[in-house]
């Protein structure tokens, strides 16, 4: 009986959805991105990528015969701003939402989208618990932290480091990754000699570096973001301290080397999904060329590119489900989308909304400040 009732409600919802969709001659796709605040460069990149993709899709005839319109809201890289942005997007007739970057920011918006049945595809949020809450409309094109934690432990083992210091920045992303790596490293017999957090947004980290140096590790695993990583490397060099640093994927940003300086950045290892220019799909190569032509720069990072994949997956979902109904799109993405050719490689989603398959690589910064893919 209950199922019949649900079916009835769903049918009614569909009918209403169908009417509004007919009334509108555009399909609106939301983008929630940190256009301001300390992750603004990521957010601006996300916006540029999604707008370019929408433009290209519209040139090919849009989706379901309608033009795609991107509706952008700024989450400021801040959970409170994000919940307001999410509420605004839910009232603006969007059929699905791409975004956002930081895990804690995404977390603040999840329930809001899920409640109204809007599919949300996060692009930079890797905290494990985001997909452990049973939201049926939540997906991510980013890999999960536990995958990265495993990769961190494996890489440290392969590089032969025994005494490890772990530093995070208390954001839910960085702490999640640090905890995961800490547990794995201990279980594989490595010694964790230091575990603490810095305060992001400051300039002077010498107090922390002095303390880290006192713990005498073989390698420092820093799970925070690139602005702090750049400063750490720069100030580490000023202290004449040679121990290598291994960063998490949030340090993968071209600005890292600019902040640290080439000399200080040389030898820095980091884990990351492949960078935009290391992407080997033909789609990615063509898109990057178009992007460079339009904006005269490369996308800031892989995370912004993953927002592009989020957008493409939504378009594929709408086309595949032949509907702009959130439940139908989500169902299609969960069950029918298999090995969709994304910019960052094949995309499928499991039942939780996580992306399937190994995504991470190990990079090292060379003397010219280039990020070189390491074969380990």
């Amino acid at each position: 009986m209950k199922q019949h009732l649900l079916a009835l409600v769903a049918a009614l919802g569909l009918a209403v959805g169908g009417v509004t969709a007919q009334a509108a001659d555009t399909v609106k796709i939301g983008l929630m991105a940190p256009l301001t605040g300390s992750w603004a460069s990521e957010g601006q990149g996300m916006k540029k990528i999604v707008e370019l993709l929408a433009e290209q899709q519209n040139a090919k005839g849009g989706v379901l015969g309608k033009r795609i319109e991107v509706v952008t809201e700024d989450d400021g890289g801040d959970p409170r701003t994000a919940s307001l942005a999410a509420q605004r997007l839910t009232t603006r007739d969007v059929v699905a939402v791409v975004g956002t970057y930081g895990s804690s920011v995404t977390e603040a918006s999840q329930a809001i989208y899920d409640e109204v049945g809007l599919p949300q595809i996060a692009n930079g949020s890797t905290a494990i618990r985001l997909t452990e809450k049973g939201f049926k409309h939540f997906f991510r094109t980013a890999p999960r932290d536990d995958e990265q934690g495993r990769m961190a432990a494996r890489t440290i083992d392969k590089l032969g480091f025994k005494k490890i210091a772990i530093l995070h920045d208390n954001t839910s992303y960085a702490k999640g990754l640090a905890d995961e790596a800490n547990a794995l490293l201990k279980s594989q017999g490595a010694e964790v000699v230091f575990f603490d957090a810095l305060t992001p947004g400051e300039r002077d980290y010498t107090a922390i570096l002095t303390k880290l140096k006192g713990a005498n590790p073989d390698v420092v695993l820093f799970t925070g973001y690139y602005p702090e990583a750049g400063l750490l490397l720069r100030q580490k060099k000023d202290m004449n301290w040679k121990t290598p640093f291994l960063g998490g994927d949030a340090t993968n940003n071209v600005d890292l080397v600019k902040i640290a300086g080439k000399e200080a950045a040389e030898g820095f290892y980091f884990l990351s999904p492949p960078q935009p220019r290391d992407l080997d799909t033909p789609d990615a190569a063509a898109f990057l060329a178009d992007y460079q032509k339009k904006y005269n720069e490369l996308p800031p990072s892989i995370w912004a590119m993953l927002a592009g994949d989020g957008f493409r997956v939504i378009v594929a979902g709408i086309a595949g489900a032949q509907s702009t109904d959130g439940d139908k799109i989500a169902e299609y993405l969960h069950q029918d989308l298999k090995d969709y050719p994304g910019l960052s490689g094949p995309i499928s989603f499991d039942a939780k909304g996580d992306r399937e398959g190994e995504v991470y690589r190990v990079y090292q910064v060379d003397a010219e400040g280039n990020f070189v893919l390491l074969k380990l």
Binding site: Q44, D196, T199, A207, I208, T210, L231
Partner: protein, 301 residues
């Protein structure tokens, strides 16, 4: 023990910057009883203007390192001082007779305006100073690693603070500023042009804040348009710690806050560093509600 002294020098370098910015808060508060929330953003302007002047005029290439940086410091201080004066005219003077809350709201508004203007002009990405301008010498003394630039930063901030102190204590204009801080009405009756005193305060405070911004840019290399927020908060705290309205208090408060942070991070917990610093602030305010060197009991915002 070596680690203790290393942390002490780390703290002093950070504290020197806090102290320079704190002076701007405390001077304005002393004369106007206003917290100039836009002061942190003037600090950021110092960093950005410094970057623009440095790269566009190539001062260090033409004049050599020492002279080039000196000219740069003076130019940045001058420009930020003008900005401070404009801020006073545009955002505070029209509200001089209004309730004090209006001026506080105006200060917050000015802060948001300045910050976003900077983002629109320079973009949201981190800006980076060229990294080959400063000598990257690191002194190795008594087992301590002291980058030469950190030593210079501390010396420069102490020199600027000393100059300001002498100016306030020993000159006629300084006396006028002190008089206006004690009682504006009485100062006016004694023939002091209070508007000019206020203007002067809004020239000197931002000039020091701008110099601090330039030093942060030159040494740490990485600047962004929101950096004034963290530094502003810390400097504001330092000003209260030392006794707001009191100039030596701001200097002591700034240096002390830097050292507390460094030692707290070293011996207690890095993650709790700020909490420790604020705990010390609360304890000091419980014992001395006017701050370490504050004398007059002024009602605070």
């Amino acid at each position: 023990m070596e680690e203790f002294f290393q942390q002490l020098t780390n703290g002093l370098a950070v504290g020197g910057i806090y102290a320079l910015i704190a002076l701007g808060y405390t001077m304005v508060y002393g004369v106007l009883k206003l917290i100039n929330f836009a002061h942190g953003d003037l600090f950021t302007y110092g960093a950005y203007l410094g970057l623009t002047l440095l790269t566009s005029l190539a001062l260090t290439d033409r004049l050599g390192f020492a002279l080039g940086v000196l000219v740069l410091v003076l130019m940045v201080m001058g420009l930020v001082a003008v900005l401070g004066a404009i801020l006073e005219r545009a955002a505070y003077r029209p509200l001089r007779e209004s309730p004090r809350l209006s001026a506080v709201v105006s200060a917050l508004g000015a802060s948001i305006f300045l910050q976003n203007t900077l983002m629109l002009i320079y973009g949201a990405r981190f800006q980076v100073y060229p990294d080959n301008i400063l000598p990257a010498t690191t002194l190795h003394l008594f087992g301590l690693y002291l980058p030469l630039m950190r030593v210079l930063i501390v010396l420069a901030s102490v020199a600027m603070m000393a100059a300001l102190y002498l100016f306030i204590q020993k000159t006629r204009i300084g006396t006028a500023i002190r008089a206006a801080a004690i009682d504006q009405g009485a100062a006016r009756l004694m023939g002091i042009d209070v508007n000019r005193v206020i203007l002067l305060v809004f020239l000197m405070g931002p000039a020091l804040g701008g110099a601090a911004g330039l030093m942060v840019g030159l040494y740490y290399g990485q600047i962004n348009f929101t950096m004034g927020w963290v530094y502003g908060m810390k400097a504001f705290t330092a000003a209260i710690l030392g006794g707001i309205g009191n100039i030596p208090g701001a200097m002591v408060g700034g240096l002390l806050l830097g050292v507390i942070e460094a030692l707290g991070a070293a011996y207690l917990s890095i993650a709790w560093k700020d909490a420790i610093a604020f705990l010390v602030l609360i304890l000091i305010l419980i014992v001395r509600p006017t701050g370490l060197l504050g004398e007059r009991v002024a009602d605070k915002i």
